[in-house]
Subunit: 208 residues, 2 copies
């Protein structure tokens, strides 16, 4: 079985950079935006549209994780959400079957649970998330601190809602992860270097 | 300022062993039962009684963290709880002032917040906690699995209630910790070895 590491992350926490560095340190594949690109290709929808669907829970619909045992009124948006989710599941399973990898977001921790992934949740306090957003230029507009905080909270609320819609689990609840890392203190590079060691052989500790 | 590492831990998660190994790896002081012993000495109460008070939220009383701005009816049990908590705060501050240390439990993460401690929460899934309890002989009685599970849940509920009573914060909510570690997979020794590296100099990562 391949070693699968999934990263769930708060917007602004540096989780994407953490995942990328982890994959570099471990010399394994890294999947992030590639998942959206592949879904767009297979569904013949635009990347932007797929990204928007993946980032938001459909309005007034049954959770995907419960399944559907009865016919509902046809709802084209909902049907499209479901078909995107089906592709997302197929693509993630293909990626996991191919080689060791780090996968960022997209409910991979839940979708790939049978592969026994190592599930990491990355978060930070608000001032740190705001600082990182400004440094990385995620927000090109000239937002006030208050506006930026609202934007960060809105993105994270959407992620939480989409995750809960797909999995029935609470996003960020430690019980669903193997490691939860607060990146407020320390550098992403330094934290990634330490966490990489969890996956590399350490002399003298394997059989004790 | 000394390096203070606090460990909050679910009963059965191996958090105590983790803390001890971390202190050994870092060559720093380790405080756990010593805190109860010192409180007992200073308050002239028995260790067993102090342990019981620290492990349980007083019934029908105001949270300690809110403080008391008005006179209430005298309540000897509550007064004793408060005097134990005051000693707990003094002792923890003295320990933190003395040298680098690892402190297990006793709301040290909250009480020492001005020292900017590195706050770790250690947890595990239920089968793993049950297995560890049986291995360590925490439960000498011949409990059924169901009884042991109830016992573990009861201890952890008490810890959560006492923590919330003292701090006003939710025990185990990742936002109050720097690192949350699920010990279900891997050995405590192996995890402690990796986490120790967060506190040891790593060549090439300090200034990046």
């Amino acid at each position: 079985m391949n070693r699968i590491i999934t990263i769930s992350r708060e917007f602004g926490s540096g989780g994407r950079e953490f995942g990328r560095r982890l994959s570099e340190n471990l010399g394994c594949a890294y999947y992030d935006q590639e998942i959206v690109q592949e879904i767009a290709k297979r569904t013949e929808l635009s990347e932007k549209y797929v990204q928007q669907v993946i980032g938001h829970r459909p309005i007034s619909s049954f959770p995907i994780h419960i399944g559907r045992s009865f016919r509902m009124m046809p709802d084209p948006h909902l049907e499209q959400s479901c078909s995107i989710y089906r592709e997302q599941c197929s693509i993630l399973r293909e990626m996991a079957a191919k080689s060791d990898c780090v996968i960022v977001g997209r409910c991979a921790d839940y979708i790939l649970q049978e592969e026994n992934p190592f599930r990491i949740f990355v978060y930070a306090d608000m001032p740190s998330k705001m600082r990182r957003c400004r440094e990385k230029g995620y927000e090109k507009e000239d937002l006030t601190d208050r506006e930026l905080e609202r934007r960060i909270n809105a993105v994270n609320r959407s992620r939480a809602e989409y995750y809960e819609y797909c999995t029935g689990q609470k996003w960020g609840d430690h019980i669903h992860y193997d490691l939860c890392i607060n990146t407020t203190q320390g550098t992403i590079k330094g934290i990634a270097a330490v966490v990489s060691r969890l996956f590399l052989p350490q002399p003298g500790t394997e059989n004790e």
